[in-house]
Amino acid sequence: MEAIRTERLSKAYGERIGVTELDLVVEEGAVFGLLGPNGAGKTTTMRLLLGFLHANSGRATVFGRDCGAESTRVKRDIGYLPGDLRLPLWMSGREAGRMMGAVRRRDLRESVLELGEYLELDLDLDVRSMSRGMRQKLGILLALAHGPRLLILDEPTSALDPVTQARLYDRLRELASDGTTIFFSSHVLSEVEGLCDRVAILRRGRLVANQSLDYLRVEAGRAVSILWHPGAQPSGEPPGIVELERQGALWQGRLQGPVRPLIDWLQPQHYEDLVIEEPDLDSLFLRYYAEDSVEIEADGTSGRFRPGDLA
């Protein structure tokens, strides 16, 4: 089942673009990362899903329900952590849990206690006395406490210490393995790499990529270095290598695609060493983020885009 579907979803704030004709599909149980530079439209997308904003055109659904017309029903299934989290200063964790439980007509005391312990948060402290990190923990607790089917997290690890970040990742992985859909935005690429099955990249309100992380790893290419024996005479061009630089006996480039043809090509030749590094997603994302980069047509349903356009 589809957890999220947007069809030609557009939102503008007067002259300023929020998102433009966004087509996106997130399958239930997926961990989906939404990336993009500041002002790309990530938060706008999330706010449209929550019914905070009314779309100028297009449609968004969560678990098949319209985010505008059935907003209240949709929000029963959602846990949301805002990017710029602000909490009432008088509220303590325990009180927040009780109040949210009363609004949702559910007893959340046990799950609030469990999450408070897990996140090492003092539930009796009021927000006024909390550090920024503690407030973020409380925001996470409130997003998770009612066991939502869909988690919408806007930069969830900002202000969190590394230990709590790791704990949160573990919890999110557990939730995902139990079938919870996680839709989050982030600027931390290691976070995206560690958690996501799939990412979409927005730039200036437009979707410029929507791919599985495995596909992007292949597309990102891997840095390759070949060191030749002195006097070796390499025959032909190494297959799959782009941006090749020859510096005497040292050849360096970026491998795109599978490694097997390169190995087969090297086999009969006199090479001394071969180094293939991890896929460099950072530079791929930066290329997407860059203002002058080529836009890739994304297809939200099939997730295909033209790899050739990347080169």
Partner: protein, 267 residues
């Protein structure tokens, strides 16, 4: 009605409200105790001065004669600027908490991500506003009865004054909610509500001193709140009450509509 939303209102506003209740009670007891004695000593002299008569007319909202009964003098306790200021302070504070203050502070994201319609938020807040207003008025009534001893007007007349004051409260609250739903900055909403209240107050004071002002007096909300007509002239202010309720309901409905349609953008 959602219990959680009521809890939120209570938790956010309880201390302010208790202080306001206390303020209204203390003020009304004191002013109701002091007014009759004060006027008994100097009423005849004061009513012979045209300027002071005009001030009294402006304050009470109706022409005063050469003589005022103790009950009529006590009417000033219901229109005293301090009492009205306490009511308006409450209205401005309460009605701009939600949605405009929530949007301004950024806490709207927390509340509006919950599975509750905007209308439910609006209704809960509106009912709480009516309830707190009614409690404030009943407290003022209690203070008036306690302070005035046995000199106060008949209870049915006082209840009619309370009903008129409640209608004025509803009209102002309706306008305050409309402002609260239209703006994203609390200071702007408060500024507009304050300006309208001030305008209304100014208009009611202007008329006795500037006769052409009577042609525009109907534009001020206070024009429809004249307790002296009830106490001294035995009138039932049904038209005034209906006009105020109509104004309140119109603004409130427009507010509900604006709130349902608006974007909640905190960034």
């Amino acid at each position: 009605m959602n219990r959680g939303l009521w809890l939120k209102v209570w938790r956010e506003y309880r201390f302010v409200f208790l202080w306001l209740l206390l303020g209204v009670l203390v003020f009304e007891v004191i002013v109701s105790a002091v007014l009759p004695n004060f006027f008994e000593e100097s009423a005849a002299h004061m009513l012979s001065q045209p300027f002071i008569r005009n001030i009294l007319t402006a304050l009470l909202g109706s022409e005063v004669g050469d003589k005022l009964s103790p009950q009529a003098i006590l009417t000033a306790a219901w229109v005293h600027p301090v009492l009205l200021s306490l009511f308006w302070a409450h209205l401005i504070l309460f009605c701009t908490r939600m949605p405009v203050a929530e949007i301004d502070r950024g806490t709207a994201d927390l509340w509006f991500a919950l599975p509750v319609t905007r209308l439910a938020h609006y209704l809960t807040e509106s009912f709480a506003c009516l309830l707190t207003g009614a409690l404030l008025i009943l407290t003022a009534l209690a203070g008036h009865i306690i302070g005035s001893g046995n000199q106060h007007a008949a209870i049915p007349k006082l209840l009619l004054v309370c009903a008129n004051l409640f209608a004025l409260y509803i009209a102002t609250a309706g306008f305050a909610y409309l402002c609260s739903t239209l703006y994203s900055r609390r200071s702007r909403a408060i500024g507009l509500i304050f300006a309208v209240i001030l305008f209304s107050f100014f208009l009611s004071f202007l008329v006795p001193f500037w006769p052409p002002g009577k042609y525009v007096a109907f534009l001020g909300l206070l024009h429809y709140y004249r307790p002296i007509q009830v106490i001294a002239h035995d009138q039932v202010p049904m038209t005034d009450i209906l006009i105020l309720l109509g104004i309140g309901l119109t603004f409130w409905t427009l507010g509900a509509r604006a709130f349902r349609r608006r974007d909640l953008a905190t960034t």
